[in-house]
Protein backbone atom coordinates (compact mmCIF):
# COMPACT_ATOMS: atom_id res chain seq x y z
CA UNK A 1 0.00 0.00 0.00
CA UNK A 2 2.64 2.48 1.11
CA UNK A 3 5.08 1.72 -1.67
CA UNK A 4 2.28 1.82 -4.18
CA UNK A 5 1.22 5.33 -3.29
CA UNK A 6 4.78 6.54 -2.95
CA UNK A 7 5.63 5.66 -6.54
CA UNK A 8 4.90 8.38 -9.06
CA UNK A 9 2.31 7.27 -11.55
CA UNK A 10 4.72 7.26 -14.47
CA UNK A 11 6.92 4.57 -12.98
CA UNK A 12 3.81 2.70 -12.00
CA UNK A 13 2.61 2.49 -15.57
CA UNK A 14 6.01 1.48 -16.86
CA UNK A 15 6.22 -1.24 -14.25
CA UNK A 16 2.73 -2.37 -15.12
CA UNK A 17 3.60 -2.63 -18.76
CA UNK A 18 6.76 -4.53 -17.97
CA UNK A 19 4.94 -7.25 -16.08
CA UNK A 20 1.82 -7.22 -18.19
CA UNK A 21 1.25 -10.50 -20.01
CA UNK A 22 0.16 -8.49 -23.00
CA UNK A 23 3.74 -7.59 -23.84
CA UNK A 24 3.29 -8.12 -27.54
CA UNK A 25 3.66 -6.01 -30.63
CA UNK A 26 0.55 -4.04 -29.74
CA UNK A 27 2.29 -2.79 -26.66
CA UNK A 28 4.63 -0.57 -28.60
CA UNK A 29 1.57 1.07 -30.09
CA UNK A 30 0.03 1.43 -26.66
CA UNK A 31 3.12 3.00 -25.18
CA UNK A 32 3.27 5.43 -28.05
CA UNK A 33 -0.34 6.43 -27.53
CA UNK A 34 0.26 6.68 -23.84
CA UNK A 35 3.13 9.08 -24.23
CA UNK A 36 1.45 11.28 -26.80
CA UNK A 37 -1.49 11.60 -24.48
CA UNK A 38 0.64 12.82 -21.62
CA UNK A 39 0.41 16.49 -22.52
CA UNK A 40 -3.35 16.18 -22.61
CA UNK A 41 -3.33 14.35 -19.29
CA UNK A 42 -1.41 17.11 -17.66
CA UNK A 43 -4.10 19.50 -18.72
CA UNK A 44 -6.61 16.92 -17.52
CA UNK A 45 -5.29 17.52 -14.03
CA UNK A 46 -6.39 21.12 -14.29
CA UNK A 47 -9.88 20.22 -15.44
CA UNK A 48 -10.17 17.93 -12.44
CA UNK A 49 -8.70 20.60 -10.20
CA UNK A 50 -11.26 23.12 -11.43
CA UNK A 51 -14.23 20.80 -10.91
CA UNK A 52 -13.00 19.94 -7.42
CA UNK A 53 -12.37 23.59 -6.66
CA UNK A 54 -15.96 24.35 -7.59
CA UNK A 55 -17.26 21.50 -5.38
CA UNK A 56 -15.01 22.67 -2.57
CA UNK A 57 -16.25 26.23 -2.94
CA UNK A 58 -19.89 25.12 -2.71
CA UNK A 59 -19.04 23.04 0.36
CA UNK A 60 -17.45 26.02 2.02
CA UNK A 61 -20.16 28.61 1.26
CA UNK A 62 -21.93 28.25 4.63
CA UNK A 63 -18.59 28.44 6.40
CA UNK A 64 -17.52 31.52 4.45
CA UNK A 65 -20.88 33.14 5.25
CA UNK A 66 -20.42 32.31 8.93
CA UNK A 67 -16.95 33.87 9.07
CA UNK A 68 -18.14 36.91 7.21
CA UNK A 69 -21.17 37.45 9.45
CA UNK A 70 -19.05 37.01 12.55
CA UNK A 71 -16.93 40.00 11.50
CA UNK A 72 -19.75 42.49 10.90
CA UNK A 73 -21.24 45.12 13.16
CA UNK A 74 -24.95 45.68 13.61
CA UNK A 75 -24.94 48.62 11.20
CA UNK A 76 -23.04 46.66 8.55
CA UNK A 77 -25.57 43.84 8.85
CA UNK A 78 -28.48 46.22 8.52
CA UNK A 79 -26.95 47.63 5.33
CA UNK A 80 -26.48 44.30 3.58
CA UNK A 81 -26.94 41.14 5.60
CA UNK A 82 -24.97 38.72 3.46
CA UNK A 83 -22.43 40.87 1.63
CA UNK A 84 -18.92 41.29 3.02
CA UNK A 85 -18.25 44.60 4.72
CA UNK A 86 -15.22 46.63 5.67
CA UNK A 87 -13.74 47.31 8.23
CA UNK A 88 -13.80 43.94 9.98
CA UNK A 89 -15.47 44.13 13.33
CA UNK A 90 -13.39 42.02 15.72
CA UNK A 91 -15.22 43.23 18.81
CA UNK A 92 -17.76 40.43 18.17
CA UNK A 93 -15.14 37.86 19.12
CA UNK A 94 -14.17 39.63 22.34
CA UNK A 95 -17.83 39.78 23.34
CA UNK A 96 -18.58 36.20 22.39
CA UNK A 97 -15.50 34.88 24.16
CA UNK A 98 -16.65 36.26 27.52
CA UNK A 99 -19.87 34.27 27.21
CA UNK A 100 -18.32 31.18 25.65
CA UNK A 101 -15.39 30.72 28.00
CA UNK A 102 -17.10 28.62 30.70
CA UNK A 103 -18.78 26.44 28.05
CA UNK A 104 -15.46 25.86 26.35
CA UNK A 105 -14.02 24.71 29.66
CA UNK A 106 -16.96 22.32 30.07
CA UNK A 107 -16.44 20.88 26.60
CA UNK A 108 -12.73 20.41 27.23
CA UNK A 109 -13.55 18.71 30.49
CA UNK A 110 -16.10 16.36 28.87
CA UNK A 111 -13.73 15.47 26.03
CA UNK A 112 -10.69 14.79 28.19
CA UNK A 113 -12.65 12.84 30.80
CA UNK A 114 -14.50 10.66 28.31
CA UNK A 115 -11.33 10.00 26.31
CA UNK A 116 -9.33 9.13 29.44
CA UNK A 117 -11.93 6.67 30.75
CA UNK A 118 -12.63 5.00 27.43
CA UNK A 119 -9.06 4.72 26.15
CA UNK A 120 -7.91 3.29 29.48
CA UNK A 121 -10.66 0.65 29.51
CA UNK A 122 -10.52 -0.22 25.82
CA UNK A 123 -6.73 -0.55 25.75
CA UNK A 124 -6.68 -2.97 28.68
CA UNK A 125 -9.53 -5.03 27.25
CA UNK A 126 -8.22 -5.08 23.70
CA UNK A 127 -4.79 -6.12 24.95
CA UNK A 128 -5.96 -9.14 26.95
CA UNK A 129 -8.44 -10.14 24.25
CA UNK A 130 -5.64 -10.11 21.69
CA UNK A 131 -2.81 -11.69 23.63
CA UNK A 132 -4.04 -14.13 26.30
CA UNK A 133 -5.89 -17.35 25.82
CA UNK A 134 -7.93 -17.22 29.01
CA UNK A 135 -11.15 -19.17 29.48
CA UNK A 136 -14.12 -17.15 28.25
CA UNK A 137 -12.14 -15.01 25.84
CA UNK A 138 -14.42 -15.88 22.92
CA UNK A 139 -17.47 -15.08 25.00
CA UNK A 140 -16.16 -11.66 26.00
CA UNK A 141 -15.19 -10.81 22.44
CA UNK A 142 -18.59 -11.87 21.12
CA UNK A 143 -20.15 -9.67 23.78
CA UNK A 144 -18.16 -6.74 22.39
CA UNK A 145 -19.14 -7.56 18.82
CA UNK A 146 -22.79 -7.82 19.87
CA UNK A 147 -22.65 -4.12 20.76
CA UNK A 148 -22.45 -3.34 17.06
CA UNK A 149 -26.03 -4.58 16.84
CA UNK A 150 -27.29 -2.28 19.62
CA UNK A 151 -28.06 1.14 18.15
CA UNK A 152 -27.93 4.23 20.33
CA UNK A 153 -31.62 4.87 19.80
CA UNK A 154 -32.55 1.67 21.66
CA UNK A 155 -30.58 2.52 24.80
CA UNK A 156 -30.92 6.32 24.83
CA UNK A 157 -34.01 6.54 27.01
CA UNK A 158 -33.18 3.72 29.41
CA UNK A 159 -29.53 4.78 29.77
CA UNK A 160 -30.91 8.13 30.84
CA UNK A 161 -33.05 6.41 33.48
CA UNK A 162 -30.00 4.47 34.70
CA UNK A 163 -27.95 7.65 34.90
CA UNK A 164 -30.63 9.39 36.94
CA UNK A 165 -31.01 6.36 39.23
CA UNK A 166 -27.26 6.38 39.89
CA UNK A 167 -27.54 10.08 40.76
CA UNK A 168 -25.12 10.91 37.97
CA UNK A 169 -27.40 13.38 36.22
CA UNK A 170 -26.02 16.91 36.21
CA UNK A 171 -22.52 15.62 37.04
CA UNK A 172 -19.43 15.25 34.91
CA UNK A 173 -19.44 11.48 35.48
CA UNK A 174 -22.91 11.36 33.97
CA UNK A 175 -21.38 12.59 30.71
CA UNK A 176 -18.01 10.84 30.87
CA UNK A 177 -19.09 7.28 31.64
CA UNK A 178 -21.95 6.81 29.12
CA UNK A 179 -19.93 8.44 26.31
CA UNK A 180 -16.95 6.24 27.21
CA UNK A 181 -19.21 3.17 27.15
CA UNK A 182 -20.46 4.18 23.71
CA UNK A 183 -16.92 4.23 22.31
CA UNK A 184 -15.82 0.86 23.67
CA UNK A 185 -16.87 -1.39 20.80
CA UNK A 186 -15.15 0.58 18.05
CA UNK A 187 -11.97 1.18 20.03
CA UNK A 188 -11.65 -2.40 21.28
CA UNK A 189 -12.15 -3.87 17.81
CA UNK A 190 -9.57 -1.60 16.22
CA UNK A 191 -7.04 -1.99 19.05
CA UNK A 192 -7.50 -5.74 19.39
CA UNK A 193 -6.76 -6.16 15.69
CA UNK A 194 -3.66 -4.05 16.13
CA UNK A 195 -2.38 -5.88 19.23
CA UNK A 196 -3.03 -9.25 17.61
CA UNK A 197 -0.90 -8.20 14.64
CA UNK A 198 2.18 -7.61 16.78
CA UNK A 199 4.69 -10.48 16.47
CA UNK A 200 4.62 -12.70 19.54
CA UNK A 201 8.45 -12.87 19.55
CA UNK A 202 8.44 -9.35 20.96
CA UNK A 203 6.55 -10.56 23.99
CA UNK A 204 8.51 -13.81 24.30
CA UNK A 205 11.68 -11.74 24.47
CA UNK A 206 10.14 -9.54 27.12
CA UNK A 207 9.09 -12.55 29.14
CA UNK A 208 12.60 -13.99 29.00
CA UNK A 209 13.90 -10.69 30.33
CA UNK A 210 11.56 -11.17 33.26
CA UNK A 211 9.05 -8.48 32.36
CA UNK A 212 5.64 -8.74 34.03
CA UNK A 213 2.38 -8.67 32.06
CA UNK A 214 1.72 -5.02 32.82
CA UNK A 215 5.30 -4.02 31.99
CA UNK A 216 4.97 -5.67 28.60
CA UNK A 217 1.79 -3.73 27.88
CA UNK A 218 3.35 -0.44 28.96
CA UNK A 219 6.84 -0.93 27.50
CA UNK A 220 6.24 -2.98 24.35
CA UNK A 221 2.66 -2.75 23.14
CA UNK A 222 1.73 0.84 23.98
CA UNK A 223 4.71 2.56 22.34
CA UNK A 224 3.96 0.66 19.14
CA UNK A 225 0.28 1.54 19.37
CA UNK A 226 0.90 5.29 19.56
CA UNK A 227 -0.23 6.15 16.01
CA UNK A 228 -3.42 4.12 16.23
CA UNK A 229 -4.17 5.40 19.73
CA UNK A 230 -3.77 8.98 18.63
CA UNK A 231 -6.17 8.44 15.73
CA UNK A 232 -8.72 6.89 18.09
CA UNK A 233 -8.32 9.78 20.50
CA UNK A 234 -8.83 12.34 17.74
CA UNK A 235 -11.95 10.53 16.53
CA UNK A 236 -13.39 10.36 20.03
CA UNK A 237 -12.69 14.00 20.83
CA UNK A 238 -14.52 14.88 17.61
CA UNK A 239 -17.46 12.74 18.72
CA UNK A 240 -17.63 14.03 22.28
CA UNK A 241 -17.24 17.65 21.21
CA UNK A 242 -20.15 17.18 18.79
CA UNK A 243 -22.39 15.35 21.24
CA UNK A 244 -25.41 17.40 22.23
CA UNK A 245 -28.39 15.10 22.72
CA UNK A 246 -26.97 13.33 25.76
CA UNK A 247 -25.80 16.55 27.51
CA UNK A 248 -29.23 18.15 26.91
CA UNK A 249 -30.84 15.13 28.58
CA UNK A 250 -28.62 14.69 31.64
CA UNK A 251 -27.49 18.24 32.41
CA UNK A 252 -30.32 20.17 33.99
CA UNK A 253 -28.06 23.13 34.82
CA UNK A 254 -27.37 25.01 31.55
CA UNK A 255 -24.21 26.38 33.17
CA UNK A 256 -22.69 22.95 32.65
CA UNK A 257 -23.54 22.77 28.95
CA UNK A 258 -20.77 22.03 26.46
CA UNK A 259 -19.74 24.72 23.97
CA UNK A 260 -21.98 23.55 21.16
CA UNK A 261 -25.00 23.90 23.43
CA UNK A 262 -23.65 27.14 24.90
CA UNK A 263 -23.98 28.71 21.47
CA UNK A 264 -27.73 28.16 21.63
CA UNK A 265 -27.85 30.61 24.54
CA UNK A 266 -25.70 33.21 22.79
CA UNK A 267 -28.80 34.60 21.12
CA UNK A 268 -30.22 35.74 24.45
CA UNK A 269 -26.92 36.79 25.96
CA UNK A 270 -24.98 39.02 23.63
CA UNK A 271 -26.96 40.10 20.61
CA UNK A 272 -28.46 43.34 21.94
CA UNK A 273 -25.99 45.53 20.14
CA UNK A 274 -23.73 43.12 18.31
CA UNK A 275 -25.70 40.42 16.50
CA UNK A 276 -22.43 39.31 14.91
CA UNK A 277 -21.24 38.13 18.32
CA UNK A 278 -23.58 35.14 18.01
CA UNK A 279 -21.81 34.04 14.84
CA UNK A 280 -18.44 34.73 16.44
CA UNK A 281 -19.50 32.33 19.20
CA UNK A 282 -20.33 29.67 16.60
CA UNK A 283 -16.82 30.04 15.21
CA UNK A 284 -15.23 29.91 18.67
CA UNK A 285 -17.02 26.65 19.50
CA UNK A 286 -15.23 24.93 16.62
CA UNK A 287 -11.76 26.45 17.07
CA UNK A 288 -10.35 23.73 19.35
CA UNK A 289 -11.27 21.13 16.75
CA UNK A 290 -9.53 23.22 14.09
CA UNK A 291 -6.45 23.41 16.30
CA UNK A 292 -6.50 19.66 16.86
CA UNK A 293 -6.97 19.07 13.15
CA UNK A 294 -4.04 21.34 12.31
CA UNK A 295 -1.75 19.11 14.36
CA UNK A 296 -3.15 15.74 13.38
CA UNK A 297 -4.55 16.13 9.86
CA UNK A 298 -1.57 14.38 8.27
CA UNK A 299 -1.83 11.19 10.31
CA UNK A 300 -5.63 11.37 10.31
CA UNK A 301 -5.80 11.49 6.52
CA UNK A 302 -3.11 8.85 6.16
CA UNK A 303 -4.87 6.59 8.67
CA UNK A 304 -8.19 6.79 6.83
CA UNK A 305 -6.75 6.57 3.34
CA UNK A 306 -4.61 3.54 4.12
CA UNK A 307 -7.62 1.73 5.55
CA UNK A 308 -6.11 1.39 9.03
CA UNK A 309 -9.32 2.45 10.74
CA UNK A 310 -12.43 0.87 9.43
CA UNK A 311 -15.62 -0.50 10.87
Amino acid sequence: MQSKTALPKDTRSIRAQAISPRATATQAEAIRQHSTKRGFRWRGDWTIALVLLFLGFLTFIPLIMLLELSLKSQQQMADAMWLPAWPLYFKNYAKAWIVMQPYMVNSLNFSLGAVAVSILCSTLSAYVLARYDFPGREFFYMAILALLMIPGVLTLITAFVVTVRLNLNNTYWGVWLPLAAGAQAFQIIVLRTFFASLPSELFEAGRLDGAGELTMLLRIALPLAKPILSTLIVLQILNVWNEFIWPIMVLSDPGRYPAILGILRLGQLVTQRDPGAMYAGYVISGLPLLLMFAFTSRSFIRGLTSGAIKM
Binding site: K9, A16, T26, I48, L69, M81, L154, T155, A181, F293
Partner: protein, 311 residues
Protein backbone atom coordinates in the same frame (compact mmCIF):
# COMPACT_ATOMS: atom_id res chain seq x y z
CA UNK B 1 -8.29 -19.15 17.52
CA UNK B 2 -8.50 -20.53 21.01
CA UNK B 3 -11.06 -23.28 20.81
CA UNK B 4 -9.14 -25.12 18.12
CA UNK B 5 -5.69 -24.96 19.63
CA UNK B 6 -6.73 -27.22 22.52
CA UNK B 7 -6.95 -30.97 22.64
CA UNK B 8 -10.13 -32.11 20.96
CA UNK B 9 -11.50 -33.32 24.27
CA UNK B 10 -13.11 -30.36 26.08
CA UNK B 11 -11.06 -29.37 29.12
CA UNK B 12 -12.31 -30.59 32.48
CA UNK B 13 -13.67 -28.18 35.04
CA UNK B 14 -10.49 -28.48 37.13
CA UNK B 15 -8.33 -27.69 34.08
CA UNK B 16 -10.44 -24.67 33.26
CA UNK B 17 -10.24 -23.40 36.83
CA UNK B 18 -6.49 -23.81 36.75
CA UNK B 19 -6.32 -21.60 33.68
CA UNK B 20 -8.72 -19.13 35.22
CA UNK B 21 -6.32 -18.84 38.17
CA UNK B 22 -3.34 -18.51 35.87
CA UNK B 23 -4.99 -15.76 33.82
CA UNK B 24 -6.80 -14.02 36.69
CA UNK B 25 -5.36 -10.64 35.68
CA UNK B 26 -7.18 -10.79 32.34
CA UNK B 27 -10.53 -10.62 34.09
CA UNK B 28 -9.32 -7.68 36.16
CA UNK B 29 -8.29 -5.85 33.01
CA UNK B 30 -11.69 -6.47 31.42
CA UNK B 31 -13.45 -5.16 34.50
CA UNK B 32 -13.50 -1.49 33.47
CA UNK B 33 -14.97 -2.08 30.04
CA UNK B 34 -17.58 -4.52 31.19
CA UNK B 35 -18.79 -2.47 34.13
CA UNK B 36 -19.27 0.45 31.73
CA UNK B 37 -21.04 -1.75 29.20
CA UNK B 38 -23.26 -3.53 31.73
CA UNK B 39 -24.41 -0.22 33.16
CA UNK B 40 -24.82 1.85 30.01
CA UNK B 41 -25.32 -0.63 27.17
CA UNK B 42 -26.43 -4.17 28.00
CA UNK B 43 -28.75 -3.37 30.87
CA UNK B 44 -30.40 -0.36 29.14
CA UNK B 45 -30.94 -2.46 25.99
CA UNK B 46 -32.70 -5.23 27.93
CA UNK B 47 -34.54 -2.69 30.03
CA UNK B 48 -35.83 -0.95 26.88
CA UNK B 49 -37.10 -4.23 25.45
CA UNK B 50 -38.81 -5.20 28.71
CA UNK B 51 -40.32 -1.78 29.35
CA UNK B 52 -41.68 -1.50 25.83
CA UNK B 53 -44.40 -3.89 27.09
CA UNK B 54 -45.24 -1.72 30.08
CA UNK B 55 -46.65 1.61 31.08
CA UNK B 56 -43.74 3.29 32.79
CA UNK B 57 -42.81 6.79 33.88
CA UNK B 58 -39.16 5.82 34.18
CA UNK B 59 -39.03 5.76 37.96
CA UNK B 60 -42.07 4.25 39.61
CA UNK B 61 -42.75 0.51 39.11
CA UNK B 62 -43.86 -0.34 35.60
CA UNK B 63 -47.22 -1.90 34.78
CA UNK B 64 -47.30 -4.75 32.25
CA UNK B 65 -49.67 -4.03 29.34
CA UNK B 66 -48.52 -6.45 26.65
CA UNK B 67 -48.53 -5.06 23.14
CA UNK B 68 -50.54 -1.95 23.92
CA UNK B 69 -47.62 0.45 23.35
CA UNK B 70 -46.87 -1.07 19.96
CA UNK B 71 -50.53 -0.88 18.98
CA UNK B 72 -50.65 2.75 20.00
CA UNK B 73 -47.44 3.60 18.17
CA UNK B 74 -48.63 1.99 14.96
CA UNK B 75 -52.13 3.43 15.25
CA UNK B 76 -50.78 6.92 15.78
CA UNK B 77 -51.12 9.26 12.81
CA UNK B 78 -47.73 10.71 13.56
CA UNK B 79 -45.18 8.21 14.81
CA UNK B 80 -45.21 5.45 12.25
CA UNK B 81 -47.17 7.22 9.49
CA UNK B 82 -45.95 10.76 8.94
CA UNK B 83 -42.78 10.06 10.88
CA UNK B 84 -41.99 6.85 9.06
CA UNK B 85 -42.54 8.44 5.66
CA UNK B 86 -40.14 11.24 6.55
CA UNK B 87 -37.68 8.77 8.00
CA UNK B 88 -37.76 6.70 4.82
CA UNK B 89 -37.35 9.77 2.63
CA UNK B 90 -34.40 10.97 4.65
CA UNK B 91 -32.84 7.50 4.77
CA UNK B 92 -33.14 6.85 1.04
CA UNK B 93 -31.80 10.32 0.49
CA UNK B 94 -28.86 9.49 2.74
CA UNK B 95 -28.06 6.52 0.52
CA UNK B 96 -28.13 8.76 -2.54
CA UNK B 97 -26.08 11.56 -1.07
CA UNK B 98 -23.40 9.36 0.46
CA UNK B 99 -22.87 7.39 -2.74
CA UNK B 100 -22.85 10.15 -5.35
CA UNK B 101 -20.87 13.31 -4.72
CA UNK B 102 -18.26 11.85 -2.34
CA UNK B 103 -17.71 9.00 -4.79
CA UNK B 104 -17.50 11.40 -7.71
CA UNK B 105 -14.97 13.55 -5.85
CA UNK B 106 -12.94 10.47 -4.86
CA UNK B 107 -12.85 9.24 -8.47
CA UNK B 108 -11.64 12.67 -9.59
CA UNK B 109 -8.98 12.77 -6.88
CA UNK B 110 -7.86 9.30 -7.91
CA UNK B 111 -7.33 10.54 -11.46
CA UNK B 112 -5.11 13.41 -10.40
CA UNK B 113 -1.53 12.97 -11.44
CA UNK B 114 -0.03 15.52 -9.11
CA UNK B 115 0.35 14.01 -5.63
CA UNK B 116 0.65 17.44 -4.04
CA UNK B 117 -2.54 18.76 -5.58
CA UNK B 118 -4.38 15.57 -4.64
CA UNK B 119 -3.25 15.93 -1.04
CA UNK B 120 -4.31 19.55 -0.98
CA UNK B 121 -7.82 18.61 -2.12
CA UNK B 122 -8.07 15.81 0.40
CA UNK B 123 -7.30 18.37 3.06
CA UNK B 124 -9.90 20.77 1.67
CA UNK B 125 -12.67 18.18 1.76
CA UNK B 126 -11.77 16.79 5.19
CA UNK B 127 -11.43 20.22 6.78
CA UNK B 128 -15.22 20.70 7.31
CA UNK B 129 -15.18 17.95 9.97
CA UNK B 130 -13.95 20.62 12.38
CA UNK B 131 -17.30 22.39 12.06
CA UNK B 132 -19.47 21.08 14.89
CA UNK B 133 -22.73 19.58 13.62
CA UNK B 134 -24.78 21.99 15.70
CA UNK B 135 -23.00 24.97 14.13
CA UNK B 136 -23.69 23.61 10.65
CA UNK B 137 -27.37 23.21 11.52
CA UNK B 138 -27.61 26.73 12.94
CA UNK B 139 -25.84 28.30 9.96
CA UNK B 140 -28.11 26.50 7.51
CA UNK B 141 -31.10 27.67 9.55
CA UNK B 142 -29.92 31.23 8.94
CA UNK B 143 -29.49 30.56 5.22
CA UNK B 144 -33.09 29.28 5.12
CA UNK B 145 -34.48 32.15 7.22
CA UNK B 146 -37.56 33.40 5.29
CA UNK B 147 -37.16 37.15 5.92
CA UNK B 148 -33.46 37.86 5.57
CA UNK B 149 -31.91 34.44 4.83
CA UNK B 150 -29.38 34.12 2.03
CA UNK B 151 -31.51 31.92 -0.20
CA UNK B 152 -34.49 34.25 -0.22
CA UNK B 153 -32.25 37.28 -0.75
CA UNK B 154 -30.82 35.55 -3.81
CA UNK B 155 -34.30 34.63 -5.07
CA UNK B 156 -35.49 38.21 -4.56
CA UNK B 157 -32.43 39.54 -6.33
CA UNK B 158 -33.51 37.60 -9.41
CA UNK B 159 -37.13 38.71 -8.92
CA UNK B 160 -38.22 35.20 -8.01
CA UNK B 161 -40.82 34.33 -5.44
CA UNK B 162 -39.23 33.73 -2.01
CA UNK B 163 -39.91 30.38 -0.35
CA UNK B 164 -40.85 29.69 3.25
CA UNK B 165 -38.29 26.84 3.34
CA UNK B 166 -38.43 25.23 6.79
CA UNK B 167 -41.52 27.18 7.81
CA UNK B 168 -43.88 25.56 5.35
CA UNK B 169 -44.99 21.93 5.68
CA UNK B 170 -44.56 21.52 1.93
CA UNK B 171 -40.94 22.62 1.66
CA UNK B 172 -39.64 21.65 5.10
CA UNK B 173 -38.49 18.10 4.30
CA UNK B 174 -36.94 18.99 0.93
CA UNK B 175 -35.11 21.80 2.73
CA UNK B 176 -33.75 19.33 5.29
CA UNK B 177 -32.62 17.10 2.44
CA UNK B 178 -30.89 19.92 0.62
CA UNK B 179 -28.95 20.92 3.72
CA UNK B 180 -25.23 20.31 3.41
CA UNK B 181 -25.16 20.71 -0.37
CA UNK B 182 -23.04 19.51 -2.21
CA UNK B 183 -22.86 16.69 0.35
CA UNK B 184 -19.20 15.86 -0.06
CA UNK B 185 -18.48 14.12 3.22
CA UNK B 186 -14.75 14.11 3.93
CA UNK B 187 -14.53 10.82 5.78
CA UNK B 188 -16.58 8.99 3.16
CA UNK B 189 -14.44 10.48 0.43
CA UNK B 190 -11.24 9.27 2.14
CA UNK B 191 -12.60 5.77 2.54
CA UNK B 192 -13.62 5.64 -1.12
CA UNK B 193 -10.19 6.93 -2.07
CA UNK B 194 -8.57 4.24 0.07
CA UNK B 195 -10.53 1.65 -1.88
CA UNK B 196 -9.51 3.14 -5.22
CA UNK B 197 -5.84 3.33 -4.26
CA UNK B 198 -5.91 -0.34 -3.28
CA UNK B 199 -6.89 -1.42 -6.81
CA UNK B 200 -3.83 -3.05 -8.43
CA UNK B 201 -2.46 -0.55 -10.94
CA UNK B 202 -1.95 -3.35 -13.46
CA UNK B 203 -5.71 -3.67 -13.90
CA UNK B 204 -6.15 0.03 -14.56
CA UNK B 205 -3.18 0.17 -16.90
CA UNK B 206 -4.43 -2.81 -18.85
CA UNK B 207 -7.80 -1.12 -19.27
CA UNK B 208 -6.10 2.08 -20.37
CA UNK B 209 -4.10 0.18 -22.95
CA UNK B 210 -7.27 -1.38 -24.25
CA UNK B 211 -8.48 2.14 -24.77
CA UNK B 212 -11.18 2.16 -22.10
CA UNK B 213 -12.36 5.69 -21.49
CA UNK B 214 -12.21 7.27 -18.08
CA UNK B 215 -15.95 6.88 -17.61
CA UNK B 216 -15.93 3.26 -18.71
CA UNK B 217 -13.04 2.45 -16.39
CA UNK B 218 -14.99 3.95 -13.52
CA UNK B 219 -18.15 1.96 -14.08
CA UNK B 220 -16.57 -1.30 -15.24
CA UNK B 221 -13.52 -1.57 -13.00
CA UNK B 222 -13.30 0.92 -10.19
CA UNK B 223 -16.88 0.95 -8.98
CA UNK B 224 -17.25 -2.87 -8.82
CA UNK B 225 -13.96 -3.10 -6.93
CA UNK B 226 -14.87 -0.55 -4.27
CA UNK B 227 -18.38 -1.85 -3.64
CA UNK B 228 -17.29 -2.95 -0.11
CA UNK B 229 -16.39 0.63 0.75
CA UNK B 230 -19.61 1.95 -0.77
CA UNK B 231 -21.57 -0.57 1.26
CA UNK B 232 -19.76 0.44 4.43
CA UNK B 233 -20.43 4.14 3.97
CA UNK B 234 -24.04 3.57 2.91
CA UNK B 235 -24.92 1.26 5.79
CA UNK B 236 -23.29 3.55 8.35
CA UNK B 237 -25.16 6.48 6.82
CA UNK B 238 -28.46 4.61 6.87
CA UNK B 239 -28.04 3.55 10.51
CA UNK B 240 -27.24 7.16 11.37
CA UNK B 241 -30.15 8.57 9.37
CA UNK B 242 -32.69 6.23 10.98
CA UNK B 243 -31.71 7.45 14.46
CA UNK B 244 -31.00 11.08 13.75
CA UNK B 245 -33.20 13.79 15.23
CA UNK B 246 -30.75 16.68 15.59
CA UNK B 247 -32.69 19.07 13.34
CA UNK B 248 -35.93 18.27 15.09
CA UNK B 249 -34.40 18.83 18.53
CA UNK B 250 -32.59 22.06 17.68
CA UNK B 251 -34.67 23.74 14.98
CA UNK B 252 -38.00 22.38 13.83
CA UNK B 253 -39.38 20.51 16.86
CA UNK B 254 -40.88 18.19 14.29
CA UNK B 255 -42.98 21.03 12.90
CA UNK B 256 -44.48 22.92 11.25
CA UNK B 257 -47.60 20.86 11.74
CA UNK B 258 -45.56 17.65 12.33
CA UNK B 259 -44.26 17.83 8.78
CA UNK B 260 -40.63 17.13 9.72
CA UNK B 261 -41.17 14.61 12.49
CA UNK B 262 -39.40 11.26 12.56
CA UNK B 263 -39.98 8.26 14.87
CA UNK B 264 -36.75 8.89 16.80
CA UNK B 265 -37.91 12.41 17.60
CA UNK B 266 -41.33 11.13 18.69
CA UNK B 267 -39.51 8.68 20.95
CA UNK B 268 -37.48 11.46 22.53
CA UNK B 269 -40.59 13.59 22.94
CA UNK B 270 -42.63 10.79 24.49
CA UNK B 271 -39.96 10.15 27.13
CA UNK B 272 -38.42 13.54 27.85
CA UNK B 273 -41.49 15.67 27.06
CA UNK B 274 -44.38 13.57 28.29
CA UNK B 275 -42.69 11.10 30.66
CA UNK B 276 -44.14 8.13 28.77
CA UNK B 277 -41.08 5.89 28.86
CA UNK B 278 -43.01 2.74 27.92
CA UNK B 279 -44.15 3.90 24.51
CA UNK B 280 -40.78 5.59 23.94
CA UNK B 281 -39.12 2.22 24.53
CA UNK B 282 -41.52 0.58 22.08
CA UNK B 283 -40.57 3.07 19.35
CA UNK B 284 -36.91 2.47 20.19
CA UNK B 285 -37.37 -1.29 19.88
CA UNK B 286 -39.05 -0.95 16.47
CA UNK B 287 -36.19 1.23 15.22
CA UNK B 288 -33.74 -1.28 16.64
CA UNK B 289 -35.43 -4.11 14.74
CA UNK B 290 -35.37 -2.13 11.48
CA UNK B 291 -31.66 -1.42 11.93
CA UNK B 292 -30.98 -5.05 12.89
CA UNK B 293 -32.72 -6.39 9.78
CA UNK B 294 -30.87 -3.93 7.52
CA UNK B 295 -27.53 -4.85 9.12
CA UNK B 296 -28.17 -8.57 8.73
CA UNK B 297 -29.24 -8.15 5.10
CA UNK B 298 -26.13 -6.11 4.48
CA UNK B 299 -23.91 -8.75 6.05
CA UNK B 300 -25.35 -11.75 4.28
CA UNK B 301 -26.14 -10.20 0.91
CA UNK B 302 -22.65 -9.59 -0.29
CA UNK B 303 -19.74 -10.99 1.66
CA UNK B 304 -17.59 -8.21 2.93
CA UNK B 305 -13.97 -8.16 1.95
CA UNK B 306 -13.13 -4.95 3.72
CA UNK B 307 -10.58 -6.02 6.27
CA UNK B 308 -9.12 -4.39 9.27
CA UNK B 309 -5.62 -3.55 8.41
CA UNK B 310 -3.38 -2.27 11.14
CA UNK B 311 -0.14 -0.58 10.29
Amino acid sequence: MSAHSYPIKPPTFAQTMKRVRKYWFCYVMLLGTFSLLLTFSYYPALSAIYHSFTIWDGFRPAQWVGLQNYQEAFASEIIFRKGAVNMMLLTVWQVVRSSTFPLFAAALLYRMRSEKLAYFYRLVFVLPIVVPGVVAILVWRQLYEPNFGLFNEILQFFDLKPSAWLNSPKTAIPSLMFMGFPWVDGVGLLIYLAGLLAIPTEIIEAAKMDGASSLRRFFRIELPLIIPQVRLIVILGVIGALQNFGWQLLVTNGGPNNSTTVPAWEMYQAAMGEGRFGIASAVGVVLFLIILVLTLINQSYIRSNVEYQAD
